[in-house]
């Protein structure tokens, strides 16, 4: 008779552990994503869209290019 409440308590403990792990995991993922953004996608890191280079590639460069 004792085994059912014990099993339930054990399952509840495991689920709360799972929630904690998931929160940690999501936190880590957001942190990794933020780091990626800072390193590669932030305004400071963005390469300029070089219309002049594209003009040269397509052989339509103007004297200013």
């Amino acid at each position: 008779m004792q085994s059912i409440p014990l099993a339930r308590r054990s399952l509840a403990r495991r689920r709360s552990g799972l929630q904690r792990d998931l929160l940690w995991l999501l936190g880590l993922k957001f942190a990794a994503l933020g780091l990626l953004w800072l390193l590669f996608f932030s305004t400071a890191q963005q390469p300029a869209i070089d219309a002049a280079a594209a003009s040269r590639q397509l052989a339509v460069e103007s004297p200013g290019d």
Binding site: R14, R15, L26, A51, L58
Partner: protein
């Protein structure tokens, strides 16, 4: 920019030119084909896991849990070893295809970014929960996780295919002469691109077939060896029924893909059919033939009347244009494209030139065709009639490669229908073990769905040539300014690293399959029926199947 050498080497006639463009294409093709060894199995196995676990949740029978765990283990090896190889392809857009990224990144980047986020948050999180959640989630909760793994895999595929479909049918975007690139004008048009819809369902269904043949073949191997008999028979029953439904779907959805391509990529259809001259409608389908590129004809043709007309146009009175006619149309568009290129050049020099702007707007749809001439002449306006002719014929992809790739793919697709139909019959009559010939055929069919899937991509992507973006950007203009040696070095690195990765994957897969569910020891073997029940467990449930 100096004109690139004409593509006339024996190697280029066979497959590809080994200049920077050719090497970059080769690298992308090899990494894409390699990546797609893993993707269809991920798609297929994830859905098969959902079916197996659903049966477990509904019936409570232990053997279905074991099946889910065993096939889930193979799914996990495949996922861990292969899925990340797609990232290198995304990097190649920056390293090898910088001008491509500049020109169309505004449109192409969005679905790729969404796919990355989806894989990062949805797919990988739920894959983790699938493996580590068995003891921490309820039965139904875990089934939901498994279903979300399958959904996440399919959604990842959806976004990649939306990006790819835009390369085949570039809608929802316009050219901006000031930024010198294509810019997004309608995300919903990109999202609901009819090519994307047709490609998605066809590709995902093909992945389900790969997963089904994999399970059927490994199950057959166990039965041939007399091991894991109950698990193998049930697995084969699932694979056969799911596989038959999916292989039928692949044919139907492939037909839809053919119809969509017939609408917007007529040259691809004509090359697949080696149809040099426009036939009187309804066009017949060439079942067999020997395409002769030099003579621009197809020898020893065996034709099925009406079939191509029905596939490509859904009618019996609409012609399917042949290669000669389409080259003629390309010639006219190149002439118009020269006007667009000249106007663009004038606009770059004088951005307020209204006449040049009007000329560009009038011929803008053909700008890409004008750019084809840059392979033969530095300034398209100076192109001779011969160069225009050469550029027009460059719009024809490699006919023999497409012709045979398509036929082998379709032949294999029909074979899978037969294979699964026989498997269902034998499964329903409980006669797998009595028909060892079928088990051997099923086992040796293991590599065939991968061959069919890779050939499908060859038809789709090699058939897109000479375009990176169909009708908009020729492939040779999308490449980065790198040296050939540089690309050879990275290509060699990919070949060495990916070969090692493939060897490790094969080793792990084969080891797990050889050990089998009976040898893995991840779960207890069923207790004998006579054993006394253990408190808190259902010993009968453990042996009930």
């Amino acid at each position: 920019m100096p004109p690139l050498p004409a593509a006339n080497s024996p190697w280029s006639r066979l497959v590809i030119d080994l200049d920077v463009v050719g090497l970059s294409r080769l690298q992308f093709a090899l990494t894409a084909l390699y990546h797609f060894l893993f993707i269809p199995l991920t798609l297929g196995l994830s859905m098969i896991l959902v079916i197996m676990e659903s049966v477990y949740v509904l019936t409570g029978r232990e053997i279905w849990l074991r099946m889910t765990k065993f096939w889930g283990l193979l799914f996990g090896i495949n996922f861990a070893m292969g899925v990340a190889t797609g990232i290198t392809m995304e990097f190649q857009f920056g390293t090898n295809w910088a001008y491509y990224s500049h020109y169309v990144g505004d449109i192409f980047g969005a679905p790729l970014a969404i796919e990355g986020m989806m894989a990062f948050f949805l797919e990988s999180t739920f894959v983790g929960l699938f493996f580590f959640g068995w003891e921490r989630l309820s039965k139904v909760g875990h089934l939901v996780v498994t279903a979300l793994v399958a959904l996440g895999s399919s959604l990842s595929a959806l976004w990649i295919l939306i990006a790819n479909a835009w390369m085949q049918n570039p809608i929802g975007a316009h050219f901006n002469y000031q930024t010198m690139r294509m810019e997004l004008s309608s995300f919903s048009s990109v999202l609901f691109n009819p090519v994307a819809q047709a490609k998605f369902v066809h590709t995902v269904a093909a992945g389900y077939v790969v997963g089904s043949v994999f399970v059927l073949a490994i199950g057959a191997w166990y039965l041939l060896r007399g091991r894991n008999v109950q698990l193998a028979k049930r697995s084969m029953a699932v694979a056969a029924s799911f596989g038959l439904a999916c292989s039928l779907s692949v044919v139907v959805l492939g037909d839809e893909s053919g119809y969509v391509a017939g609408e917007n990529q007529r040259m691809k259809i004509a090359a697949i059919e080696a149809e040099w001259q426009t036939e009187k409608p309804p066009a017949s389908f060439t079942l067999f033939g020997l395409p002769d590129v030099q003579a621009r004809t197809t020898h020893a043709e065996v034709k099925l009347p009406w079939l191509l007309g029905l596939i490509a146009t859904r009618s019996i009175d609409t012609p399917v244009p042949g290669i000669y006619e389409l080259v003629g149309r390309a010639r006219a568009r190149i002439v118009s494209g020269i006007q667009a290129h000249t106007a663009l050049k004038e606009l770059r020099a004088s951005p307020m030139d209204a006449a040049a702007l009007a000329q560009l707007q009038a011929h803008q749809a053909d700008l890409g065709y004008g750019l084809l001439l840059l392979r033969y002449v530095a300034n398209p306006a100076d192109a001779s009639a011969a160069q225009i002719e050469q550029a027009a014929w460059s719009t024809v992809p490699n006919v023999p490669v497409l012709f045979w790739s398509f036929r082998i793919m379709v032949g294999l697709g029909l074979f899978f229908i037969l294979l699964f139909a026989i498997a269902i019959y034998l499964s329903a009559r409980h006669r797998f073990e009595q028909n060892r010939w079928f088990l051997r055929i099923a086992f040796f069919s293991l590599p065939l769905p991968w061959i069919a899937a890779e050939l499908g991509w060859i038809v789709a992507e090699y058939g897109r040539q000479p375009w990176a973006i169909d009708g908009v950007l020729p492939t040779f203009l999308g490449v980065s300014t790198r040296s050939a040696g540089n690309v050879i070095a990275s290509l060699t690195g990919f070949i060495v690293f990916y070969s090692a990765l493939a060897a490790v994957e094969l080793f792990l897969m084969l080891r797990m399959i050889r050990r089998g569910p009976d040898g893995l020891g991840y779960w207890p073997t069923p207790a004998p029926a006579a054993a006394p029940p253990v408190a808190g467990t259902d010993a009968l449930a453990a042996v009930r199947v």
